[in-house]
Symmetry: C2
Subunit: 90 residues, 2 copies
DNA sequence: GTTGTCATTAGAGAATTAGCTAATTAGCCT
DNA sequence: AGGCTAATTAGCTAATTCTCTAATGACAAC
């Protein structure tokens, strides 16, 4: 969960997630949407992957990324439960 | 909103928020719960305040902090809307 | 196997952030 | 005013993070 919050703290990574909301994209497609160099985007994708906010699947030569909704939901639940006194401790 | 995600990325700050969930606390009370030096906690509180995740009120000699639920709710809403294609763009 | 394309990893530099101690501000009381 | 307590700000160092270029890995097609 710590990784998820850290991953969400970067604007570029949130931009990537917004892009992926509309459907799976390959690494190259994602990189093209940004001014940053491809390796930079690749690194952001790795961080999102470590946080399990996205899932990557190799499709032949390409690697397809998509949002992992279940972990996203977990983060939302987590925050939501924090808003009540006596909610979760972690 | 950027500030809020940034603020939530630090474990110590999330700990502070968890503490405040149970009710308002003074700066000193908060600092006592942590191993870190008081000024360090004070800095974290300033960051949370800038992100408007907490509200501070001076009560005579002391300053009382409490969670700002409305901004918390905003963050949750924000994330929630992201989980739907065609949701908010920002 | 070698060539070309897609993508990640390595390594280094610049910028940001967290933590400390010391100094400062803000308020209360006599 | 002066002293006392509560809290923040200043200044510094160490660690982390972001970004780049260059090198490497993985796969397909010839």
């Amino acid at each position: 969960m710590d990784n998820a919050f850290r991953a969400l703290s970067d604007p570029t990574r949130r931009d990537i997630l917004r892009l992926l909301r509309d459907g799976p994209r390959t690494s190259g497609e994602i990189a093209q949407h940004f001014d940053a160099a491809w390796p930079t985007i690749s690194r952001h994708l790795a961080i999102l992957r470590d946080a399990r906010l996205v899932i990557s699947t190799r499709m032949g030569q390409q690697i397809v990324y998509e949002v992992n909704l279940s972990v996203f939901q977990d983060v939302v639940e987590h925050l939501h439960s924090w808003m009540r006194p006596g909610g979760r401790r972690d």
